[in-house]
Amino acid sequence: MMNWRALPRAGVAAAALLIVVPPFLPGWILFVLTKAMFMFIAVMGVSVLLRGGLLTFGHALYYATGAYAVGFCVKWLGVRELIFLIPLGALAGFIMAALVGVVMARYREVFFAMLNLAFSMMLFGALLKLYWVTGGTDGLAIGTATLAGIRLTGDSFGYYYFSLAMVGIVTLVVYRFMASPAGYFLRAMYDNEIRIEYSGVAVRQVVYRTYLLAGTLGGVAGVLAAFTIGHIVPEDAFWIQSGEFVFVALLGGFGGVPGPMLGALVFEFLQTYASKYFPLAWQMMMGIIMLLIILFQPGGLWAIYQRIEARLTGKDRGGDHH
């Protein structure tokens, strides 16, 4: 809970860095940062669910829903306008979550994780099978986005700052949600679900609402991803993609907003450098890092920062005679 309150200071610093530094970075690093932005939004959905103790191995369902909503708009309508497609992706994710969530709200723990996995794999199968519509494994070409008619290539500053703006909006929405009764009950659910029921709140409602939020975020992330990469494939709905979201949530720490952001940034750079320096064993390097995090830092990278901060502020307090 402290994590959510800890944001303002760390959040302002992080936002400032993300706004000011990119123009001074080489182009390819800007692109890695842009990838981290949509990764963050998708991981935020997974993290919100994890706050309530709900682990999903199928969040790529929403991510792919957003991505293919863009894919079909490009294919059939030739529309690449972000002002139209971001809300559309959000809506697609929301509707998908509204449907699937009816089932999901009844399940917890491993059943919740596996049912999500099942639904995402159903979408994966459909995207693969409906070859004539989806292009099968060859996927769909997306092309370049426009924002109010202005072309924004996936590696441009304009697109990066647009993604960053989306991150800002998502952060605000998640804060509002976590500060709402549903948010408080969600965290309480993590500790004891039955006690919430006894206090007169329908847990199923809490789960359903959280699920809607997570699905919507997944849809938005999918839209941003489609234009960043410029090409979408059924693997966007595959379990490995879902696993990647969970990986990043655990890597950064799912306690608040800073954890997933840190996780997304570190993940993207890790992947880039792992394949640069270990072209034949980059996947193994990622696995080893995951193992180390789980074994020695179960709270994620953000917990390391918090520990350092706590030590520093502890000393400060000592000096201030609070």
């Binding site: 080489p26 182009g27 390819w28 692109f31 890695v32 990838k35 693969l128 099978k129 070859y131 292009g135 099968g136 494994t137 060859d138 996927g139 070409a141 092309g143 290539t153 996936g154 590696d155 991803a225 990469i229 410029g230 090409h231 979408i232 494939v233 693997e235 966007d236 993207e268 992947q271 880039t272 394949s275 640069k276 072209p279 034949l280 980059w282 996947q283």
Partner: protein, 423 residues
């Protein structure tokens, strides 16, 4: 007489001078403006199921780059090889390509086996203005859906595999009545079967399709499909299974007599011959995706030396990924050398592109010709399996070499339109 001798001496001196100049030129400093090294990335699968292709491609790249560097590189400039894994999907590859160009500053990229990946990176390569030579990826969409300037494909597209199989099947079995297909349920399998079926029915309109089976990607378990194929009793079966999936299919279908009952045609069959050993029955039609075979050495000069060198380096005879990898590297080298000769100095990427278009170059798999749409065409062989005691596995016999124009659509014609009208 004196006169003659003078001119004789003169011409000898001139000749010696010219020879000296040539020898000097060959060994001398690279052309003006040349970089210290030509940095080229090779991208292929070193992880996952498709690593069976990538490992062969990697070995061939390492061998060819080392060989050329010993011989003076490209126009006197050595090649600096950077290896990149193609695993991780389009998302990763698009990002990797940016890193290669903007961070590692590669001059060119060779690679891409997966169609999903080559379709995804092509627009990015165009945007980054990096010379990209696609070596294996087979989808016709690469050159037909995109207007390419910086991206070239140095191998025939997938239709060449299907059409050459269709032609061969009909030459072996002119009275063909029924066919069936067993292919993987993704773009490669769908496109392969589609082109084969249309080609067969175009060449012999009364042929009927009795079964169309779609298996999961690299399923590894085919008993239900084999049962259906045994029950359908088609005269011929087409399959574009590859790698591990194809190996298990052969091992499962062989003992059940599928190969005795029907004439089976495998579009990537040649690639697994060295893996399946004695499990491969005789009389199965197999092809090396429109390239050559290490067992068919007549024809292209230098083929025997290539096969021996690759066998020594890769501990495996060259299979189609090896041939196609060589085609890509040799095309890149040819384009650079022509551009150097044309410009009289180290060329710009745009000059290399100009030299690449319309270039023909010799490879162990024959002559490869690059067209103005950046799609290369070349001929290829098809044969039937026959166990070879000398090798310890089956090789191909009754080999037919198809000419480029018989298995590739002409310039400007869409692949499927061409298949629908082949003669």
């Amino acid at each position: 007489m004196r006169k003659i001798s003078t001119s004789g001496i003169l011409s000898f001196a001139l000749g010696a001078l010219a020879a000296g100049a040539m020898a000097f030129g060959a060994a001398a400093a690279p052309p003006k403006g040349a970089p210290k090294a030509l940095k080229v990335a090779f991208v292929d699968f070193f992880s996952g199921g498709a690593a069976v292709f990538g490992v062969s491609g990697k070995g061939t790249s390492e061998w060819v780059v080392a060989k050329w560097n010993k011989e003076g590189g490209i126009g006197g400039v050595p090649i600096d090889l950077v290896l990149v894994d193609e695993g991780g999907g389009p998302k990763k590859q698009v990002s990797e390509l940016r890193r290669l160009v903007l961070d590692e500053k590669v001059d060119a990229v060779v690679g891409y086996t997966s169609s999903g990946n080559c379709l995804a990176i092509a627009p990015v390569a165009e945007e980054l203005k990096v010379l990209t030579v696609v070596h294996v990826c087979g989808t016709h969409r690469l050159t037909e859906d995109n207007k390419l300037k910086y991206v070239f494909r140095t191998a025939s597209n997938q239709a060449a595999d299907s059409v050459s199989l269709a032609r061969y099947v009909l030459s072996v079995k002119p009275d063909l009545k029924t066919i069936a297909g067993a292919n993987e349920d993704y773009a490669w399998g769908r496109d392969s079967w589609e082109a084969f079926k249309i080609a067969i029915q175009r060449l012999k309109p009364d042929v009927k399709v009795v079964a169309e089976l779609w298996t999961k990607f690299q399923a590894g378990e085919y008993s239900a499909e084999i049962s259906r194929l045994l029950a359908a009793r088609p005269d011929a079966i087409h399959s574009s299974f590859w790698g591990g999936g194809l190996i298990t299919f052969i091992k499962q279908a062989g003992p059940r007599g599928l190969f005795d009952q029907s004439l089976v045609a495998l579009s990537t069959g040649e690639q697994v011959l060295q893996n399946v050993g004695k499990s491969m029955p005789d009389g199965v039609i197999a092809a090396p995706r429109a390239t050559a075979g290490f067992f068919a050495l007549e024809g292209a000069p230098g083929h025997k030396a290539f096969v021996e060198a690759i066998y020594k380096h890769n501990k495996r005879y060259p299979d189609y990924p090896a041939y196609r990898t060589y085609q890509a590297w040799a095309g890149l080298k040819g384009a650079y050398e022509k551009a150097i000769a044309d410009a009289g100095r180290w060329p710009t990427t745009e000059e290399v592109i100009k030299a690449f278009e319309g270039l023909s170059w010799e490879t162990p798999s024959g002559t490869v010709a690059m067209r103005s749409d950046h799609q290369a065409v070349h001929g290829g062989l098809v044969g039937v399996t026959k166990f070879s005691k000398e090798h310890g596995f089956a090789i191909l016999e009754n080999i037919v070499h198809h000419k480029a124009e018989d298995i590739n659509p002409p310039l400007g014609t869409k692949t499927l339109d061409w298949v629908r009208a082949i003669k």
